[in-house]
């Protein structure tokens, strides 16, 4: 954690990712999750790198822990991790592995990497925050391919029936699932009583409007559609 927060913006995320990858000229669009994560940290989440243990902070869970460079770049831009640490990406002593570890990086809410774990944990967090009467929200990012894991559907069904208004699931859809989702991804959530919004995953204003939505009696799903995975 840095004492003074860096004044970095969206335009800086490219070189912050380059620091990790050891090459250059990474367009933001090279990473499917980058715009969603940026909008969350820049406009939505009520969190502060100087108060990472605030029990009432909003939580962001990167369930799809693969390819966390965009996540680390945003965390560095927002002052949660040191920019210098980005150069150590994947090294033995680095806190920044190819899958994130909450015990190595203060501010990272869950350790992830194996698919299909974040949403279940997010349901538990939302239940815990509700039991404690905390106003905090939980945002869980999954991929359209990750949704193939059955554990997600246990969580989707339960969260809807439990009316977990604190919970939001963002599905970054780059059409990488093996068999696709006939009827659309949003319908999988809608039938379980979630509110849903399907938006352009590169449109910051559209993402902001969709992510800021909160209904009093139900969880919220945002399908953020980006370019098909190459």
């Amino acid at each position: 954690m840095t004492a003074t927060l860096p004044a970095l913006g969206y335009a800086d995320l490219g070189w912050l990712m380059d620091l990790q990858l050891g090459d250059d000229k990474h367009a933001a669009s090279a990473t499917s999750t980058l715009d969603v994560i940026w909008v969350l940290y820049d406009r939505i989440l009520r969190i502060d790198p100087r108060r990472i243990d605030d029990p009432d902070r909003d939580r962001f869970l990167l369930s799809k822990g693969h390819g966390p460079m965009a996540y680390y770049a945003v965390l560095a831009a927002k002052g949660f991790i040191d920019i210098a640490a980005l150069r150590t990406f994947g090294l033995y002593e680095s806190p920044l592995g190819h899958h994130p570890d909450r015990n190595l990086v203060p501010g990272i809410e869950i350790s992830s990497g194996s698919l299909g774990h974040g949403l279940g944990i997010g349901v538990g967090m939302a239940l815990g925050l509700r039991a404690r009467r905390s106003p905090a929200r939980v945002f869980c990012l999954v991929g359209d391919a990750e949704l193939e894991e059955g554990s997600n559907h246990e969580a989707i069904a339960f969260a809807g029936r439990a009316g977990l208004d604190r919970l939001a699931c963002v599905v970054v859809d780059n059409r990488s699932s093996s068999l696709g989702w006939p009827g659309g991804i949003a319908s999988r959530f809608a039938i379980e009583s979630w509110s849903t919004a399907t938006v352009d995953g590169r449109d910051h204003d559209g993402l902001e409007a969709a992510l800021a939505t909160r209904h009093e009696d139900r969880p919220h799903a945002v399908i953020a559609v980006v370019e098909p995975k190459a």
Binding site: N103, S114, H117, G120, I121, G124, L127, A131, S151, E154
Partner: protein, 267 residues
């Protein structure tokens, strides 16, 4: 389960949670509750709290460094009439293969309450294994510590949870030390070393040899022999009751005695 929890669910709707038949979610929810500052206690049959969601134990609890208590019923073959699907004698070995878990195996309902209440005041990861078989008299038990039931000179017999009474009966006239464990992990190596015996008999109500490596490490600098009794690693394909299975596997008093005697006679 539902009938037992209906009252508490009405009184504490935010804290008694039924996720339905969703074991992966159940363990994920436990991890999330812990990360939100609560102390989750998870309950189901052993195969469904340990085996089916095993990766959730590893990642949603352990890898997060979160705490939870998993309380199972249906130990080993308590549900023998239901067959292999509802049996899980592997449970302790599985949980013990993950770092940082305590494993409690009470031998009496009163001991289960002692261990549950003690663990609940901590933030540890714990597996509490409940069984139908019980010893006649509860002991005053302490997390992490074996009890010396009897002192002898020829061998040390370590038994776990509900097999204490059969072991005491099997060894009544033998000159052996009997150690009684209700904590399987962390294993009380100090108690074993203090017994100072080169012959060790381990009698476990789950997969045979689950704690053999613990004994090897406790006695690494001491020449010793080990007889490890427990549930054999086989597809048994028989129904019945836990009494039937204990008898077949040599885990009743007669069976335990029949295998200890030649071990003690051997050089």
């Amino acid at each position: 389960m539902t009938s037992v929890t209906n009252g508490p669910m009405r009184r504490h709707p935010d804290r008694v949670i039924n996720v339905g038949i969703r074991e992966q979610l159940m363990l994920g929810v436990a991890g999330g509750l812990a990360l939100a500052g609560l102390r989750p206690i998870v309950h189901s049959y052993a195969p469904f709290v340990v085996e089916r969601p095993f990766e959730m134990l590893k990642l949603d609890i352990g890898h997060q460094d979160a705490g939870a208590i998993l309380a199972s019923v249906g130990a080993s073959y308590d549900s023998a009439a239901s067959g292999r699907t509802h049996e899980a004698p592997e449970d302790v070995a599985l949980v013990a293969s993950l770092p940082g878990w305590s494993v409690y195996v009470p031998g009496h309902p009163d001991e289960a309450e002692q261990l549950l209440r003690a663990s609940a005041t901590t933030d540890e990861r714990a597996y509490l294994r409940l069984a139908e078989q019980a010893n006649a008299v509860p002991r005053s038990v302490e997390r992490g510590h074996m009890i010396i039931e009897r002192r002898g000179r020829v061998a040390t017999v370590i038994t776990v949870g509900p097999l204490l009474d059969p072991v005491l009966e099997a060894t009544a006239d033998l000159d052996v030390t009997v150690l009684y464990a209700t904590t399987a992990r962390p294993f009380d190596r100090d108690a074993l070393r203090a017994a100072r015996s080169p012959r060790v008999v381990l009698v476990e109500p789950y997969l045979a040899g689950t704690s053999s490596s613990e004994i090897a490490e406790a006695l690494v600098d001491t020449p010793h022999r080990l007889l490890a009794l427990g549930v054999p690693n086989v597809e048994h394909r028989r129904y019945g009751t836990w009494r039937d299975h204990n008898a077949v596997h040599g885990l009743d008093a007669a069976g335990i005695r029949a295998r200890i005697l030649p071990f003690l006679d051997a050089a």
